[in-house]
Protein backbone atom coordinates (compact mmCIF):
# COMPACT_ATOMS: atom_id res chain seq x y z
CA UNK A 1 0.00 0.00 0.00
CA UNK A 2 3.01 2.25 0.15
CA UNK A 3 4.54 3.84 -2.86
CA UNK A 4 8.03 5.13 -2.39
CA UNK A 5 7.85 8.07 -0.07
CA UNK A 6 9.64 10.55 -2.28
CA UNK A 7 7.40 9.85 -5.23
CA UNK A 8 4.34 9.94 -3.03
CA UNK A 9 5.28 13.32 -1.61
CA UNK A 10 6.10 14.71 -5.02
CA UNK A 11 2.89 13.46 -6.53
CA UNK A 12 0.87 14.49 -3.51
CA UNK A 13 2.28 17.99 -3.75
CA UNK A 14 1.52 18.04 -7.45
CA UNK A 15 -1.99 16.83 -6.81
CA UNK A 16 -2.73 19.38 -4.13
CA UNK A 17 -1.13 22.11 -6.22
CA UNK A 18 -3.39 21.04 -9.03
CA UNK A 19 -6.43 21.23 -6.78
CA UNK A 20 -5.45 24.70 -5.60
CA UNK A 21 -4.98 25.95 -9.13
CA UNK A 22 -8.23 24.42 -10.21
CA UNK A 23 -10.04 26.35 -7.53
CA UNK A 24 -8.02 29.49 -8.22
CA UNK A 25 -8.92 29.78 -11.85
CA UNK A 26 -9.59 27.66 -14.87
CA UNK A 27 -6.79 29.27 -16.86
CA UNK A 28 -4.23 27.34 -14.81
CA UNK A 29 -6.43 24.35 -14.20
CA UNK A 30 -4.22 21.29 -14.06
CA UNK A 31 -6.29 18.34 -12.95
CA UNK A 32 -4.50 15.78 -10.76
CA UNK A 33 -2.14 13.90 -13.03
CA UNK A 34 -3.78 10.57 -13.65
CA UNK A 35 -1.38 8.09 -15.18
CA UNK A 36 -2.94 5.70 -17.65
CA UNK A 37 -0.31 3.00 -17.02
CA UNK A 38 -0.87 3.12 -13.27
CA UNK A 39 -4.61 3.12 -13.77
CA UNK A 40 -4.52 0.12 -16.08
CA UNK A 41 -2.40 -1.86 -13.65
CA UNK A 42 -4.57 -0.97 -10.67
CA UNK A 43 -7.76 -1.92 -12.52
CA UNK A 44 -6.12 -5.24 -13.33
CA UNK A 45 -4.90 -5.68 -9.75
CA UNK A 46 -8.35 -5.00 -8.35
CA UNK A 47 -9.90 -7.67 -10.55
CA UNK A 48 -7.09 -10.10 -9.64
CA UNK A 49 -7.67 -9.60 -5.92
CA UNK A 50 -11.42 -10.08 -6.35
CA UNK A 51 -10.62 -13.35 -8.14
CA UNK A 52 -8.67 -14.44 -5.05
CA UNK A 53 -11.90 -14.51 -3.04
CA UNK A 54 -14.33 -15.69 -5.72
CA UNK A 55 -13.65 -18.29 -6.79
CA UNK A 56 -10.09 -18.73 -5.40
CA UNK A 57 -10.61 -18.78 -1.65
CA UNK A 58 -14.07 -20.31 -2.04
CA UNK A 59 -12.67 -23.30 -3.94
CA UNK A 60 -9.63 -23.60 -1.67
CA UNK A 61 -11.89 -23.95 1.36
CA UNK A 62 -14.75 -25.86 -0.31
CA UNK A 63 -12.41 -28.64 -1.41
CA UNK A 64 -11.23 -29.14 2.17
CA UNK A 65 -14.62 -29.50 3.82
CA UNK A 66 -16.82 -32.55 3.71
CA UNK A 67 -19.08 -32.90 0.71
CA UNK A 68 -22.22 -32.01 2.64
CA UNK A 69 -20.86 -28.52 3.42
CA UNK A 70 -19.35 -27.63 0.08
CA UNK A 71 -22.00 -25.21 -1.14
CA UNK A 72 -22.30 -23.60 2.28
CA UNK A 73 -18.58 -22.89 2.14
CA UNK A 74 -18.86 -21.32 -1.30
CA UNK A 75 -21.84 -19.32 -0.05
CA UNK A 76 -19.64 -17.84 2.67
CA UNK A 77 -17.07 -16.45 0.22
CA UNK A 78 -19.73 -15.30 -2.21
CA UNK A 79 -22.05 -13.79 0.40
CA UNK A 80 -19.18 -12.01 2.15
CA UNK A 81 -18.14 -10.50 -1.18
CA UNK A 82 -21.59 -9.02 -1.75
CA UNK A 83 -22.26 -7.77 1.80
CA UNK A 84 -18.85 -6.15 2.09
CA UNK A 85 -19.04 -4.51 -1.32
CA UNK A 86 -22.24 -2.71 -0.33
CA UNK A 87 -20.98 -1.74 3.13
CA UNK A 88 -17.69 -0.51 1.69
CA UNK A 89 -19.63 1.76 -0.63
CA UNK A 90 -21.88 3.04 2.14
CA UNK A 91 -19.35 3.73 4.90
CA UNK A 92 -16.34 1.36 4.93
CA UNK A 93 -14.09 3.23 2.51
CA UNK A 94 -14.87 6.51 4.21
CA UNK A 95 -13.85 5.45 7.72
CA UNK A 96 -10.82 3.47 6.54
CA UNK A 97 -9.23 5.63 3.86
CA UNK A 98 -10.37 9.21 4.19
CA UNK A 99 -9.05 11.66 6.78
CA UNK A 100 -10.96 12.44 9.93
CA UNK A 101 -11.58 16.19 10.34
CA UNK A 102 -10.93 15.79 14.06
CA UNK A 103 -7.14 15.73 14.25
CA UNK A 104 -7.29 13.94 17.60
CA UNK A 105 -9.42 11.16 16.13
CA UNK A 106 -7.59 10.76 12.83
CA UNK A 107 -4.91 8.43 14.20
CA UNK A 108 -7.66 5.93 15.05
CA UNK A 109 -10.49 6.22 12.54
CA UNK A 110 -11.25 8.03 9.29
CA UNK A 111 -14.04 10.49 8.63
CA UNK A 112 -17.57 10.31 7.26
CA UNK A 113 -17.18 12.68 4.33
CA UNK A 114 -17.26 9.78 1.88
CA UNK A 115 -20.55 8.25 3.00
CA UNK A 116 -22.07 6.62 -0.09
CA UNK A 117 -18.86 7.72 -1.88
CA UNK A 118 -20.53 11.04 -2.54
CA UNK A 119 -17.47 13.20 -3.25
CA UNK A 120 -15.98 10.61 -5.60
CA UNK A 121 -16.39 12.34 -8.97
CA UNK A 122 -14.65 11.52 -12.25
CA UNK A 123 -11.46 13.52 -11.82
CA UNK A 124 -11.03 12.96 -8.08
CA UNK A 125 -7.92 11.27 -6.69
CA UNK A 126 -6.94 10.21 -3.20
CA UNK A 127 -3.75 11.61 -1.65
CA UNK A 128 -2.89 7.96 -0.90
CA UNK A 129 -2.94 7.14 -4.61
CA UNK A 130 -2.48 10.35 -6.54
CA UNK A 131 -1.91 8.91 -10.01
CA UNK A 132 -5.10 6.86 -10.38
CA UNK A 133 -8.77 7.80 -10.19
CA UNK A 134 -10.14 7.48 -6.68
CA UNK A 135 -12.83 5.15 -8.01
CA UNK A 136 -10.06 2.69 -8.86
CA UNK A 137 -8.32 3.11 -5.51
CA UNK A 138 -11.63 2.64 -3.71
CA UNK A 139 -12.30 -0.53 -5.75
CA UNK A 140 -8.79 -1.86 -5.14
CA UNK A 141 -9.13 -1.35 -1.39
CA UNK A 142 -12.61 -2.86 -1.51
CA UNK A 143 -11.19 -6.15 -2.77
CA UNK A 144 -8.85 -6.25 0.25
CA UNK A 145 -11.76 -5.48 2.56
CA UNK A 146 -13.61 -8.41 0.96
CA UNK A 147 -10.95 -11.06 1.26
CA UNK A 148 -9.89 -10.27 4.82
CA UNK A 149 -13.17 -11.20 6.56
CA UNK A 150 -13.76 -13.98 4.02
CA UNK A 151 -10.51 -15.64 5.15
CA UNK A 152 -12.01 -16.13 8.62
CA UNK A 153 -14.47 -18.63 7.14
CA UNK A 154 -11.74 -21.27 7.27
CA UNK A 155 -11.83 -21.31 11.06
CA UNK A 156 -15.62 -21.44 11.44
CA UNK A 157 -16.21 -23.97 8.67
CA UNK A 158 -18.92 -26.62 8.95
CA UNK A 159 -20.83 -25.24 11.93
CA UNK A 160 -21.92 -21.57 11.78
CA UNK A 161 -25.39 -20.29 10.95
CA UNK A 162 -25.43 -18.33 7.72
CA UNK A 163 -27.35 -15.44 9.25
CA UNK A 164 -24.80 -15.20 12.07
CA UNK A 165 -22.01 -15.45 9.52
CA UNK A 166 -23.28 -12.51 7.47
CA UNK A 167 -23.78 -10.36 10.59
CA UNK A 168 -20.28 -11.30 11.67
CA UNK A 169 -18.82 -10.29 8.30
CA UNK A 170 -20.62 -6.93 8.37
CA UNK A 171 -19.82 -5.96 11.95
CA UNK A 172 -16.25 -7.24 11.78
CA UNK A 173 -15.60 -5.24 8.61
CA UNK A 174 -16.82 -2.01 10.17
CA UNK A 175 -15.47 -2.36 13.70
CA UNK A 176 -12.28 -4.35 13.23
CA UNK A 177 -11.02 -4.18 9.63
CA UNK A 178 -11.78 -0.54 8.84
CA UNK A 179 -10.09 0.91 11.95
CA UNK A 180 -7.00 -1.27 11.54
CA UNK A 181 -6.71 -0.48 7.83
CA UNK A 182 -6.90 3.19 8.81
CA UNK A 183 -4.22 2.79 11.48
CA UNK A 184 -1.70 1.31 9.08
CA UNK A 185 -2.60 2.60 5.61
CA UNK A 186 -5.17 5.36 5.97
CA UNK A 187 -3.04 7.90 7.82
CA UNK A 188 -3.48 6.43 11.31
CA UNK A 189 -1.08 5.94 14.19
CA UNK A 190 0.70 2.74 13.11
CA UNK A 191 1.56 4.14 9.70
CA UNK A 192 2.79 7.33 11.35
CA UNK A 193 4.86 5.27 13.75
CA UNK A 194 6.59 3.72 10.73
CA UNK A 195 5.12 0.22 10.70
CA UNK A 196 6.00 -1.52 7.44
CA UNK A 197 3.12 -3.51 6.00
CA UNK A 198 3.33 -3.45 2.23
CA UNK A 199 0.18 -5.35 1.36
CA UNK A 200 -1.38 -6.54 4.58
CA UNK A 201 0.64 -8.97 6.71
CA UNK A 202 -0.98 -7.56 9.83
CA UNK A 203 -3.94 -5.62 8.42
CA UNK A 204 -5.18 -8.59 6.40
CA UNK A 205 -3.61 -11.85 7.50
CA UNK A 206 -2.76 -11.55 11.18
CA UNK A 207 -6.09 -9.76 11.52
CA UNK A 208 -8.13 -12.51 9.84
CA UNK A 209 -6.08 -15.21 11.55
CA UNK A 210 -6.64 -13.76 15.01
CA UNK A 211 -10.37 -13.46 14.34
CA UNK A 212 -10.28 -17.07 13.16
CA UNK A 213 -8.67 -18.21 16.40
CA UNK A 214 -11.29 -16.35 18.47
CA UNK A 215 -14.24 -17.62 16.45
CA UNK A 216 -13.12 -21.27 16.50
CA UNK A 217 -12.64 -21.08 20.27
CA UNK A 218 -16.06 -19.49 20.78
CA UNK A 219 -17.91 -21.85 18.43
CA UNK A 220 -16.28 -24.94 19.85
CA UNK A 221 -15.21 -28.02 17.98
CA UNK A 222 -17.14 -29.57 15.13
CA UNK A 223 -19.40 -32.46 16.12
CA UNK A 224 -17.30 -35.60 15.86
CA UNK A 225 -13.97 -33.76 15.81
CA UNK A 226 -11.19 -36.20 16.60
CA UNK A 227 -13.38 -39.29 16.23
CA UNK A 228 -15.07 -39.01 12.85
CA UNK A 229 -13.48 -38.90 9.42
CA UNK A 230 -13.28 -35.26 8.36
CA UNK A 231 -11.02 -35.79 5.38
CA UNK A 232 -11.26 -33.17 2.61
CA UNK A 233 -13.85 -34.35 0.12
CA UNK A 234 -12.06 -33.16 -3.01
CA UNK A 235 -8.59 -31.67 -2.88
CA UNK A 236 -8.65 -30.95 -6.61
CA UNK A 237 -10.89 -27.98 -5.87
CA UNK A 238 -8.39 -26.84 -3.24
CA UNK A 239 -5.51 -27.07 -5.71
CA UNK A 240 -7.44 -24.96 -8.21
CA UNK A 241 -8.35 -22.50 -5.46
CA UNK A 242 -4.80 -22.21 -4.14
CA UNK A 243 -3.50 -21.67 -7.66
CA UNK A 244 -6.04 -18.90 -8.26
CA UNK A 245 -4.94 -17.36 -4.97
CA UNK A 246 -1.31 -17.50 -6.08
CA UNK A 247 -1.99 -15.82 -9.42
CA UNK A 248 -4.37 -13.29 -7.90
CA UNK A 249 -1.80 -12.42 -5.26
CA UNK A 250 0.23 -10.47 -7.83
CA UNK A 251 -2.61 -7.99 -7.80
CA UNK A 252 -2.46 -8.04 -4.01
CA UNK A 253 1.27 -7.49 -3.56
CA UNK A 254 2.47 -5.88 -6.79
CA UNK A 255 -0.78 -3.91 -6.87
CA UNK A 256 0.05 -2.52 -3.46
CA UNK A 257 2.69 -0.39 -5.12
CA UNK A 258 -0.40 1.56 -6.26
CA UNK A 259 1.61 2.41 -9.33
CA UNK A 260 3.00 0.43 -12.21
CA UNK A 261 6.63 1.01 -11.42
CA UNK A 262 9.87 -0.54 -10.16
CA UNK A 263 8.38 -1.29 -6.75
CA UNK A 264 5.56 -3.26 -8.31
CA UNK A 265 8.05 -5.29 -10.29
CA UNK A 266 10.19 -6.08 -7.25
CA UNK A 267 7.11 -6.96 -5.20
CA UNK A 268 5.97 -9.39 -7.89
CA UNK A 269 9.37 -11.07 -8.04
CA UNK A 270 9.59 -11.38 -4.25
CA UNK A 271 6.09 -12.85 -4.15
CA UNK A 272 6.84 -15.55 -6.68
CA UNK A 273 10.12 -16.51 -4.99
CA UNK A 274 8.73 -16.66 -1.45
CA UNK A 275 5.66 -18.64 -2.47
CA UNK A 276 7.60 -21.37 -4.19
CA UNK A 277 10.14 -21.52 -1.35
CA UNK A 278 7.39 -21.85 1.26
CA UNK A 279 5.64 -24.61 -0.68
CA UNK A 280 8.94 -26.49 -0.65
CA UNK A 281 9.51 -25.67 3.03
CA UNK A 282 6.17 -27.21 4.02
CA UNK A 283 6.50 -30.12 1.62
CA UNK A 284 9.96 -31.17 2.80
CA UNK A 285 9.01 -30.74 6.48
CA UNK A 286 6.08 -33.06 5.93
CA UNK A 287 8.09 -35.49 3.82
CA UNK A 288 10.63 -35.72 6.61
CA UNK A 289 8.18 -36.04 9.50
CA UNK A 290 5.04 -37.67 8.06
CA UNK A 291 6.95 -39.57 5.35
CA UNK A 292 4.91 -38.34 2.38
CA UNK A 293 4.84 -35.03 0.47
CA UNK A 294 1.09 -34.37 0.37
CA UNK A 295 -0.61 -32.20 -2.21
CA UNK A 296 -2.52 -30.45 0.58
CA UNK A 297 0.86 -29.73 2.18
CA UNK A 298 2.29 -28.18 -0.97
CA UNK A 299 -0.65 -25.85 -1.52
CA UNK A 300 -0.85 -24.97 2.17
CA UNK A 301 2.83 -24.07 2.08
CA UNK A 302 2.31 -21.91 -0.99
CA UNK A 303 -0.47 -19.98 0.75
CA UNK A 304 1.72 -19.63 3.85
CA UNK A 305 4.45 -18.14 1.67
CA UNK A 306 2.04 -15.74 0.01
CA UNK A 307 0.86 -14.64 3.43
CA UNK A 308 4.34 -14.15 4.87
CA UNK A 309 5.71 -12.22 1.90
CA UNK A 310 2.67 -9.94 1.86
CA UNK A 311 3.98 -7.35 4.37
CA UNK A 312 7.52 -7.63 2.99
CA UNK A 313 6.97 -7.78 -0.74
CA UNK A 314 7.83 -4.19 -1.68
CA UNK A 315 10.61 -3.83 0.88
CA UNK A 316 12.86 -6.88 0.56
CA UNK A 317 15.33 -8.12 -2.01
CA UNK A 318 15.11 -11.57 -3.60
CA UNK A 319 17.30 -13.18 -0.92
CA UNK A 320 15.08 -11.77 1.80
CA UNK A 321 12.07 -13.18 -0.03
CA UNK A 322 13.69 -16.61 -0.25
CA UNK A 323 14.42 -16.72 3.49
CA UNK A 324 10.97 -15.42 4.43
CA UNK A 325 9.39 -18.02 2.17
CA UNK A 326 11.29 -21.10 3.32
CA UNK A 327 10.94 -20.23 7.00
CA UNK A 328 7.21 -19.45 6.64
CA UNK A 329 6.60 -22.87 5.09
CA UNK A 330 8.23 -24.60 8.05
CA UNK A 331 6.74 -22.34 10.74
CA UNK A 332 3.19 -22.58 9.41
CA UNK A 333 3.51 -26.35 9.06
CA UNK A 334 4.45 -26.59 12.71
CA UNK A 335 1.63 -24.21 13.72
CA UNK A 336 -1.09 -25.91 11.69
CA UNK A 337 -0.13 -29.51 12.39
CA UNK A 338 1.65 -29.71 15.74
CA UNK A 339 0.60 -26.68 17.76
CA UNK A 340 -3.05 -27.14 16.83
CA UNK A 341 -2.96 -30.78 17.88
CA UNK A 342 -1.15 -29.88 21.09
CA UNK A 343 -3.61 -27.17 22.14
CA UNK A 344 -6.68 -28.91 20.79
CA UNK A 345 -8.64 -26.05 19.19
CA UNK A 346 -10.61 -26.82 16.05
CA UNK A 347 -9.38 -24.23 13.56
CA UNK A 348 -11.00 -26.31 10.84
CA UNK A 349 -9.09 -25.11 7.78
CA UNK A 350 -6.18 -23.43 9.61
CA UNK A 351 -6.96 -19.75 9.27
CA UNK A 352 -4.90 -19.07 12.39
CA UNK A 353 -2.14 -21.55 11.62
CA UNK A 354 -1.54 -20.20 8.11
CA UNK A 355 -2.79 -16.60 8.07
CA UNK A 356 -2.33 -15.59 11.70
CA UNK A 357 1.04 -17.19 12.26
CA UNK A 358 2.26 -16.53 8.70
CA UNK A 359 1.13 -12.89 8.86
CA UNK A 360 2.88 -12.23 12.18
CA UNK A 361 6.01 -14.09 11.05
CA UNK A 362 6.13 -12.10 7.80
CA UNK A 363 5.56 -8.81 9.61
CA UNK A 364 8.48 -9.43 11.97
CA UNK A 365 10.79 -10.60 9.19
CA UNK A 366 9.83 -7.50 7.20
CA UNK A 367 11.50 -5.51 9.96
CA UNK A 368 14.56 -7.73 9.67
CA UNK A 369 14.93 -7.86 5.89
CA UNK A 370 13.52 -4.52 4.68
CA UNK A 371 16.13 -2.84 2.54
CA UNK A 372 16.56 0.85 1.87
CA UNK A 373 18.04 -0.04 -1.50
CA UNK A 374 14.77 -1.69 -2.50
CA UNK A 375 12.41 0.87 -1.03
CA UNK A 376 13.57 4.33 0.01
CA UNK A 377 10.84 4.62 2.64
CA UNK A 378 12.12 1.62 4.62
CA UNK A 379 15.16 0.85 6.74
CA UNK A 380 15.38 -2.64 8.19
CA UNK A 381 17.51 -4.29 10.82
CA UNK A 382 19.80 -6.78 9.09
CA UNK A 383 20.69 -4.78 5.98
CA UNK A 384 20.41 -1.20 7.15
CA UNK A 385 21.24 -1.75 10.83
CA UNK A 386 17.97 -0.20 12.04
CA UNK A 387 17.00 -2.49 14.91
CA UNK A 388 14.31 -0.03 15.98
CA UNK A 389 12.21 -1.26 13.07
CA UNK A 390 11.84 -4.63 14.82
CA UNK A 391 10.23 -2.90 17.79
CA UNK A 392 7.85 -0.98 15.52
CA UNK A 393 6.89 -4.21 13.76
CA UNK A 394 6.27 -5.84 17.12
CA UNK A 395 4.00 -2.99 18.18
CA UNK A 396 2.11 -3.40 14.90
CA UNK A 397 1.67 -7.14 15.45
CA UNK A 398 0.68 -6.76 19.10
CA UNK A 399 -1.77 -3.93 18.43
CA UNK A 400 -3.56 -5.82 15.66
CA UNK A 401 -3.64 -9.05 17.69
CA UNK A 402 -5.03 -7.43 20.81
CA UNK A 403 -7.54 -5.09 19.18
CA UNK A 404 -8.78 -7.74 16.77
CA UNK A 405 -8.99 -10.37 19.50
CA UNK A 406 -11.09 -8.19 21.78
CA UNK A 407 -13.21 -6.70 18.99
CA UNK A 408 -13.96 -10.10 17.48
CA UNK A 409 -14.90 -11.49 20.89
CA UNK A 410 -17.38 -8.66 21.58
CA UNK A 411 -18.98 -8.88 18.14
CA UNK A 412 -19.45 -12.65 18.41
CA UNK A 413 -20.86 -12.37 21.93
CA UNK A 414 -23.43 -9.87 20.71
CA UNK A 415 -24.46 -12.01 17.74
CA UNK A 416 -24.60 -15.08 19.96
CA UNK A 417 -26.93 -13.30 22.40
CA UNK A 418 -29.30 -12.10 19.69
CA UNK A 419 -29.49 -14.91 17.12
CA UNK A 420 -26.99 -17.58 18.17
CA UNK A 421 -23.80 -18.53 16.36
CA UNK A 422 -24.03 -22.22 15.78
CA UNK A 423 -26.37 -24.57 13.96
CA UNK A 424 -27.97 -27.45 15.86
CA UNK A 425 -26.05 -30.74 16.09
CA UNK A 426 -28.66 -32.39 13.84
CA UNK A 427 -28.13 -29.78 11.15
CA UNK A 428 -24.39 -30.11 11.51
CA UNK A 429 -24.51 -33.88 11.14
CA UNK A 430 -26.81 -33.85 8.14
CA UNK A 431 -24.91 -31.03 6.48
CA UNK A 432 -25.18 -27.30 5.99
CA UNK A 433 -25.88 -27.41 2.26
CA UNK A 434 -29.28 -29.04 2.48
CA UNK A 435 -30.32 -27.44 5.77
CA UNK A 436 -29.11 -23.86 5.35
CA UNK A 437 -29.35 -23.46 1.59
CA UNK A 438 -31.78 -26.17 0.45
CA UNK A 439 -29.32 -27.47 -2.12
CA UNK A 440 -26.86 -30.28 -2.55
CA UNK A 441 -24.02 -31.12 -4.91
CA UNK A 442 -25.05 -34.06 -7.07
CA UNK A 443 -22.78 -36.27 -9.12
Amino acid sequence: MKISLSKKLALGALASAGTLMATAGSAFAAAPKIDSGDTAWMLTSSALVLMMTIPGLGLFYAGMVRRKNMLATMAQSFGATCVITVLWMIVGYSIAFTPNPGAGLNPYIGGFAYLFLKPMGLGVTSSLAPTIPESVYMFFQMTFAIITPALIAGALADRMKYSAFLWFMALWLLFVYCPIAHWVWGGGWLGTLGALDYAGGTVVHLNAGTAGLVVCLMLGKRVGYGSENMAPHNLLFSVIGASLLWVGWFGFNAGSAVTSNVNAGMAAAATQIATAAAALGWMFSEWLIAKKPSVLGMISGAVAGLVAITPASGYVNPTGALIIGISAGVVCYVASVWVKKLLGYDDALDTWGVHGVGGAWGAMLTGAFASNAINSSAKGWLIDGNFGQMWIQFVDVAAVFVYCGIGTFIILKLIDMVIGLRVSPEVEREGLDINLHGEEVHG
Binding site: M230, A231, A290, S294, L296, G297, S300, V337, K340
Partner: protein, 112 residues
Protein backbone atom coordinates in the same frame (compact mmCIF):
# COMPACT_ATOMS: atom_id res chain seq x y z
CA UNK B 1 -28.15 -73.27 -11.45
CA UNK B 2 -25.59 -71.39 -9.41
CA UNK B 3 -25.15 -67.74 -8.52
CA UNK B 4 -21.48 -66.83 -8.30
CA UNK B 5 -20.67 -63.63 -6.40
CA UNK B 6 -17.04 -62.59 -6.51
CA UNK B 7 -15.29 -59.67 -4.82
CA UNK B 8 -12.22 -58.77 -6.85
CA UNK B 9 -9.62 -56.05 -7.27
CA UNK B 10 -11.03 -53.38 -9.58
CA UNK B 11 -8.24 -53.54 -12.14
CA UNK B 12 -8.83 -57.29 -12.66
CA UNK B 13 -12.31 -56.83 -14.12
CA UNK B 14 -11.41 -56.96 -17.80
CA UNK B 15 -9.40 -60.17 -17.52
CA UNK B 16 -12.16 -61.87 -15.56
CA UNK B 17 -14.81 -60.75 -18.01
CA UNK B 18 -12.85 -62.00 -21.00
CA UNK B 19 -12.28 -65.39 -19.38
CA UNK B 20 -15.98 -65.78 -18.53
CA UNK B 21 -17.05 -64.73 -22.01
CA UNK B 22 -14.71 -67.32 -23.48
CA UNK B 23 -16.49 -69.95 -21.39
CA UNK B 24 -19.83 -68.85 -22.83
CA UNK B 25 -21.18 -66.94 -19.84
CA UNK B 26 -23.84 -64.65 -21.30
CA UNK B 27 -24.07 -61.88 -18.74
CA UNK B 28 -22.65 -60.31 -15.64
CA UNK B 29 -23.56 -57.58 -13.15
CA UNK B 30 -20.82 -55.39 -11.70
CA UNK B 31 -21.06 -53.06 -8.67
CA UNK B 32 -18.52 -50.80 -7.02
CA UNK B 33 -18.35 -51.81 -3.37
CA UNK B 34 -16.23 -51.17 -0.29
CA UNK B 35 -15.18 -53.63 2.34
CA UNK B 36 -12.38 -55.21 4.27
CA UNK B 37 -10.89 -58.63 4.73
CA UNK B 38 -7.36 -59.58 5.65
CA UNK B 39 -6.01 -56.62 3.67
CA UNK B 40 -7.39 -54.22 6.33
CA UNK B 41 -7.41 -50.55 5.33
CA UNK B 42 -4.97 -47.70 4.93
CA UNK B 43 -4.27 -44.36 6.60
CA UNK B 44 -4.81 -40.91 5.10
CA UNK B 45 -3.11 -37.85 6.58
CA UNK B 46 -4.34 -34.28 6.04
CA UNK B 47 -2.27 -31.58 7.74
CA UNK B 48 -1.40 -34.04 10.47
CA UNK B 49 -4.95 -35.33 11.01
CA UNK B 50 -4.85 -39.07 10.48
CA UNK B 51 -7.86 -40.99 9.30
CA UNK B 52 -7.93 -44.78 9.14
CA UNK B 53 -9.81 -45.83 6.03
CA UNK B 54 -10.93 -49.34 6.91
CA UNK B 55 -13.03 -50.04 3.82
CA UNK B 56 -11.22 -50.40 0.54
CA UNK B 57 -12.81 -50.10 -2.88
CA UNK B 58 -13.48 -53.41 -4.65
CA UNK B 59 -15.70 -54.65 -7.44
CA UNK B 60 -18.46 -57.17 -6.88
CA UNK B 61 -19.38 -59.28 -9.90
CA UNK B 62 -22.46 -61.46 -10.01
CA UNK B 63 -22.81 -64.24 -12.56
CA UNK B 64 -25.60 -66.80 -12.89
CA UNK B 65 -24.62 -70.04 -14.63
CA UNK B 66 -25.92 -73.55 -15.24
CA UNK B 67 -24.73 -75.94 -12.55
CA UNK B 68 -22.45 -77.84 -14.92
CA UNK B 69 -20.62 -74.67 -15.87
CA UNK B 70 -20.07 -73.44 -12.29
CA UNK B 71 -16.78 -75.16 -11.63
CA UNK B 72 -15.17 -73.80 -14.81
CA UNK B 73 -16.48 -70.29 -14.12
CA UNK B 74 -15.19 -70.33 -10.57
CA UNK B 75 -11.82 -71.55 -11.73
CA UNK B 76 -11.67 -68.83 -14.40
CA UNK B 77 -12.44 -66.08 -11.90
CA UNK B 78 -10.01 -67.48 -9.36
CA UNK B 79 -7.16 -67.66 -11.83
CA UNK B 80 -7.73 -64.33 -13.55
CA UNK B 81 -8.39 -62.26 -10.41
CA UNK B 82 -5.32 -63.59 -8.64
CA UNK B 83 -2.25 -61.46 -8.00
CA UNK B 84 -0.97 -63.47 -5.06
CA UNK B 85 -1.14 -60.39 -2.84
CA UNK B 86 -3.39 -59.95 0.17
CA UNK B 87 -6.68 -58.34 -0.94
CA UNK B 88 -7.34 -60.42 -4.06
CA UNK B 89 -10.90 -61.04 -2.90
CA UNK B 90 -13.31 -63.93 -2.44
CA UNK B 91 -15.81 -65.98 -4.38
CA UNK B 92 -19.19 -66.95 -2.91
CA UNK B 93 -21.37 -69.57 -4.60
CA UNK B 94 -25.03 -70.23 -3.85
CA UNK B 95 -27.75 -72.32 -5.42
CA UNK B 96 -30.16 -70.44 -7.60
CA UNK B 97 -33.86 -71.30 -7.41
CA UNK B 98 -35.31 -69.48 -10.34
CA UNK B 99 -34.38 -67.19 -13.22
CA UNK B 100 -36.80 -65.20 -15.39
CA UNK B 101 -35.93 -63.18 -18.49
CA UNK B 102 -38.26 -60.20 -18.17
CA UNK B 103 -38.64 -59.46 -21.90
CA UNK B 104 -39.75 -62.92 -23.03
CA UNK B 105 -40.88 -64.63 -19.87
CA UNK B 106 -38.40 -67.48 -20.47
CA UNK B 107 -37.31 -69.18 -17.27
CA UNK B 108 -34.36 -70.94 -15.73
CA UNK B 109 -31.87 -72.50 -18.18
CA UNK B 110 -33.47 -70.74 -21.13
CA UNK B 111 -33.17 -67.41 -19.40
CA UNK B 112 -29.47 -67.65 -18.68
Amino acid sequence: MKLIVAIIKPFKLDEVREALSALGVQGMTVSEVKGYGRQKGHTEIYRGAEYAVSFLPKLKIEVAVKAEMAAAAIAAIASKAKTGQVGDGKIFVTSLEQVVRIRTGETDGDAL
